[in-house]
Symmetry: C2
Subunit: 533 residues, 2 copies
């Protein structure tokens, strides 16, 4: 008989090597996926994540944001980033998880427009900091003017994706009612230019003109972006998911977990825009009784209900979950930071992709300080956050390229942006912006989104065309006038001699001729001969 | 006195909404990040993940792979994917986690070349299947010819990212020694063409000529890719990380967790290429005693050691962790699937980026059935896996564009690929391929990698140039010959008249003239006058 000692076969040997990977380990190694590809981008991503969070926090409590952003250079490649806000602060117990656990947050499953959406950004910055400098991050939070602040030094345990508290204490935070201050040390590189922190903050000031932003770059030359309006953005409301956006697997899961006693109750309470009548229509078409208990639905019935939703006409989702910037504030924002000669803006009505409400806005600044021999510049924004990287992969860029700019009086090479002294600012507001990657740099090419962007560009384009036509006409008249004006003195002299006028009479005639010239050009008289072909 | 009932402030209200997000929830919503953007890609990604896993599994036990891939169409947009292999199988206890838990696997932290690296792909396919069809996936595994197989029906609990076992049982799997069979039902779209499953499998056969692959597409017209070699790929060995690739945060973590009693022991056992002498050099430069216990090292000392590693000359990492395809097998692979007139291949020596060994290989097929009026086609491979999407974002594509193809006799517009009847196959083998996204479609632009790709292309380019020059010369001779040959009969006639030859003599002269023409062109005689400027 064979010995009892079991020989391991291949599968058993391999089994010992299988193990769970924490999401921290995954993103530590794949940090380029989160925008930490290189030292320049790492610095800018960290500031972006912190500023986005601060602006979201201020919006939560409807307060005008007061932000301070500081970049301290510690060594050639080492920086300390400090961002402070006047938001609500974070309660003591939540601080470690919010800052030192990836995939933790409040915005992920909410159907409401916000800057953050995944619960990754800030902790990823903390993770990047500790990876490159070995240092833990420092958080100070105050939630009440009458209470002390809480200070934490935090580290992420990469093997478990759980926070490690290095230090915690109560401290005094004078002259502060509430807010957060975050300090992250990291390896980075600071530079100015198109993809810089400076540019990011300038654009943030444009899309958030209700915020005061103080920026202290490494050279300590403070830049202050003062608010251009005290009007707070409209508060976006949370909505229920729209039935057109739900997938079969999710529908099944929702029904399994539902405490509802009937499908009628389930449909009308779990989704937006399903009335009792619509619920009945869905169930009838699927041949499933309206009073069935949702958690007893079998796969075949679920499939039938799912198909029946697609065949039922359901109202578009409510759009009070969106908070567009608005034409007026868009123009104000642009005027504040760009010195141009013409501004225009358009906010499109909200619409829907995959059951998700979204809304496109657009604003142009033309002429003035802008250079005419370059391609039009695009500033892209998603939920008021400037997008700096991966422009050419973005639906906003594609839509801009595909617009026929010649129709609006601009010159354009085939498949390129127009050549014009112009900045186009394009904003998408949505409960869920479909980014092409976690680093949130480019918008995916949903046909509905591309179409809306084009319509917004065209709307602004038409207003620009009117301005440009008038400007061209004015310039034409001016050119003719200046041409004639040169000869008025000579005409005065000639008339003087012919008609034997006095000097005074000659001067008077010159004045009259000039006045005639200044008058608006006459319409051609009725009866004027017009050459026909 | 104030009532004891505490009023909630903003921060406390907001705290209740904070919660952890499971990695399944995250990827369910962001499934485009894993290659499930649309039904066409979803189908192809699923097959790719399953095939990659099967080929890796066969490699683990050094067996010639026998794979069967079937796509069954169930409804217009519903498909069942079935992939079966002859790998080692997976032990019963591990099956649920391997197939129904994201971020679970054996390859993540191994420094060794393999197709999979993240422990996401297969579970993501299961997740996508259940999301779009509500169906669980079916797995059959057999690990021993003498034991029954295990059958599982699995579902992922999205809220917890843990497997849910829908059904499990022992079954008979006749005529099978060991292997895995996976069945996933999903929403997809099947099409042929450049980005199809068909193309993916064809390219897989090229880069894995040791595999037998049977493919049953929806129309049941079976395609068989038979192996072109019985030689197994060289088994890649696992190596220790190279000190140049380690970051400060990771170094600190390694020291904290190290059971070593001295830095000497720590350095020489935790890294590749650190000898006792090198360890001493590192510690001396950092001014930290060689016998310090690693877990007692403070931050300042760690920083000093980290900087000292960068300043110490350390041998490049061992490269037996890599398993290149090899020039001979590359050419065989190309010949098997592409009917061309010229083939060449080059395998570069291994080198290093960020402490990670990698190796570039390249092969060309030129002429024959390939079309001459199109841009050169690129086939990209990473660890033998064909890359189909995001070509223009890939370092392989960039390097190909930046190569001066005119030097090798091909016509090329500025910044474009050459126009030539050619396929270039480029393979990167590495312990960690730096993909630009989790969907593993494009290689990041590390300068070391770009440089090596260019060198490989140039190496093949030079061999191609020699062939093309010879071909051109031959064609030139041929052209001249055909030109003269036309006149031979006339010359024969003329000579016949002039010299009063018989018909036979005339024929003979014509034959002699032809023979002269067929002879290799004479070298110009010494003394031939050459015009000088």
């Amino acid at each position: 008989m064979a010995t009892k000692k079991k020989e391991q076969n291949h599968a058993e040997r391999l089994a010992q090597e299988q193990k769970a990977i924490s999401v921290s380990q995954f993103f530590e190694r794949n940090r380029h996926l989160l925008g930490f590809d290189n030292p320049i981008k790492a610095l800018s991503t960290t500031i972006k994540e912190l500023v986005d969070n601060s602006l979201d926090a201020c919006q939560e409590i409807n307060i005008l944001p007061e932000l301070t952003i500081q970049i301290k250079q510690k060594a050639e490649k080492k920086f300390i980033i400090i961002v402070e806000d006047n938001g609500p602060g974070i309660v003591k117990e939540q601080i470690p998880k919010v800052f030192a656990k990836l995939l933790y947050g409040s915005k992920f499953s909410k159907m409401r427009q916000s800057r953050g959406q995944q619960g990754i950004g800030v902790s990823a910055s903390v993770l990047y900091g500790q990876l490159t400098t070995g240092k833990s991050s420092k958080i100070t939070s105050k939630i009440d003017p009458k209470k002390p602040a809480h200070f934490y030094e935090l580290h992420i345990d990469v093997n478990t994706n759980e926070p490690e508290i290095v230090q915690e204490k109560e401290i005094e935070w004078l002259n502060k009612d509430h807010g957060i201050k975050v300090e992250i040390e990291l390896e980075g590189k600071y530079q100015r230019g198109r993809l810089s922190v400076d540019e990011y903050l300038k654009q943030t000031a444009i899309s958030n003109p209700h915020a005061n932003i103080t920026y202290i770059p490494p050279d300590n030359k403070v830049v202050k972006y003062l608010r251009g309006t005290k009007e707070l953005p409209k508060e976006p409301k949370e909505i229920q998911p729209h039935p057109y956006g739900v997938e079969l697997g999710v529908l099944i899961r929702m029904m399994k977990a539902s405490p509802s006693k009937t499908l009628l109750h389930f449909f009308t309470t779990s989704f937006s825009r399903i009335s009792a009548k619509t619920a009945k229509e869905i169930c009838d078409k699927a041949n499933v009784p309206l009073n069935t208990k949702p958690h007893t639905i079998n796969h075949q019935q679920a499939d039938a209900l799912f198909n029946s939703i697609a065949k039922t006409k359901i109202m578009a989702p409510p759009t009070n979950c969106l908070s567009p910037i608005g034409e007026d504030v868009l123009t104000k924002g642009l005027k504040k930071e760009i010195n141009a000669e013409f501004y225009t803006a358009a906010t499109r009505p909200p619409t829907v992709y995959r059951g998700m409400p979204f809304q496109i806005e657009c604003a142009f600044a033309y002429g003035g300080d802008l250079k005419g021999d370059e391609l039009m510049k695009i500033m892209r924004f998603a939920n008021r956050v400037p997008l700096q990287y991966m422009q050419s992969a973005c639906a906003i860029f594609k839509s801009s390229q595909q617009t026929a700019w010649k129709n609006y009086g601009l010159s354009q090479s085939k498949g390129a942006l127009p050549t014009a002294p112009m900045v186009a600012m394009i904003h998408i507001a949505s409960v869920w912006v479909p980014f092409t990657s976690e680093s949130k740099e480019a918008i995916a090419h949903y046909p509905e989104i591309v179409k809306e962007i084009k319509l917004a560009l065209q709307e602004c384009g038409r207003k620009l065309a009117i301005y440009l036509r008038r400007k061209k006409k004015d310039a034409e008249v001016e050119r003719k006038k200046s041409y004639i004006i040169k000869y008025i003195p000579h005409m005065g002299e000639a008339l003087k001699e012919l008609l034997e006028l006095t000097d005074a009479q000659s001067k008077e005639i010159q004045v009259i001729l000039k006045q005639q010239l200044e008058a608006p050009p006459e319409e051609p008289k009725v009866g004027t001969t017009v050459k026909t072909k």
